[in-house]
Symmetry: C2
Subunit: 225 residues, 2 copies
């Protein structure tokens, strides 16, 4: 099993602020785990007793709405931490995490990391910054949801996914989402998401290779209003 001290993944998250000693200690109590595509990592209302450090893959964080739809609030990729917020607030999770890919994660028990949060101010500052950033993102999402059309939101989502999670060698988006997932990010009916994507295809803004989507005209997508 890999050692945290040597793990390059931590460069991308708050764990980089930990000292070598702290990392060695955490390394001793962490557990590595593989999560299969579609598997639920934790559910809404579940109490988390630690955080996940995502070594590979991607997952969605979603919240069930009263009308039965599963609104996707955020996506967490390789390099990021999962479950930070619940850890800090010491409340049950308000979101469900589901793997979108096969994932590799390390699970770090709360007991270990919580102590570091209080002792190592560099670490807590990093976590603070992380959350400040998430809050800013949330504000943007709220404004988009409230003020933009489904067409606009979907166009922006495609560009966001491309920019944030990258593309395959053939130019298709590396994250494979169902039309239902797209609908649940954008906050619309699955049929509407399908319709808009078909429209984008007709307009030459995107193309599809099997289930994969390729952005053909990024500027065009950004121009939509």
């Amino acid at each position: 099993m890999g050692k945290c001290e040597q793990c390059i993944i931590k460069q991308f998250n708050s764990l980089k602020a930990l000292t070598k000693d702290e990392l060695v200690r955490i390394s001793g109590c962490k557990t590595s785990r593989t999560i299969k595509k579609g598997e639920v990592i934790f559910e809404e209302g579940e109490t988390l007793n630690g955080v996940y450090c995502v070594k590979d893959g991607i997952c969605k964080l979603s919240k069930l709405s009263e009308n039965g739809k599963d609104q996707i609030v955020k996506m967490v990729v390789k390099g990021q931490l999962l479950g930070q917020r619940s850890l800090i607030s010491e409340e049950a999770s308000n979101l469900q995490a589901t793997a979108l890919n096969d994932m590799e994660v390390c699970y770090i028990p709360k007991s270990e990391i919580f102590a570091d949060l209080q002792k190592n101010s560099k670490f807590s500052m990093e976590v603070l910054k992380d959350m400040a950033h998430d809050l800013r993102d949330s504000d943007d999402i709220i404004v988009n949801m409230a003020q933009k059309s489904v067409r606009q939101r979907l166009a922006e989502t495609l560009v966001y996914i491309s920019d944030s999670f990258g593309t395959n060698p053939d130019g298709t988006l590396s994250v494979l989402l169902s039309r239902e997932d797209y609908a649940n990010i954008v906050g619309t009916a699955t049929e509407s998401a399908i319709r808009v994507l078909s429209q984008f295809k007709k307009e030459g803004l995107i193309s599809t290779v099997g289930k994969y989507i390729k952005i053909e005209n990024s500027a065009g997508l950004k121009r939509i209003e």
Copy 2:
């Protein structure tokens, strides 16, 4: 000018985690200020060099959308801190703050409080919890925006405002918002907000006393779907 050590307001926010010494020091460099209703406290893009501790009154945090609407993202009342996030992320504010009432605030320079954030882990944990809570709220707002109707959102907003900010002796909501404000919270056109409120009135769910709104049937509002 009041002293932070003796100020009861701090009980309601993270500042309560500061030591007496830290409070005395902050007290020495803070500035008290009165802000008039309608006044802009800080603008989107402005760099904040401190945080505001709200001693009295209420303000809205909003973000201008591309279509010219000013989406209200959060309201900050007496007892809460304003500008925490920008302080932590060390970025310009992504939101505008505007007073909804006459307000009384204390302004604490960044230099002072930033040091405490790194030295006093109890304080930084409080701020962390605060932000974790805000993030949870944001998730709920996103889901509401994405999945609920204007009618539902407006009903929930009325109940939220009543529960969070209280009522006057005659039962009217103590926070006085324009119909445009309601529209900007809910994310709809001003005319739509007006229409829905008129509808609520016809249905006996609310009544109005001048510009003030009184909830007549809270259960009814919660039942809307």
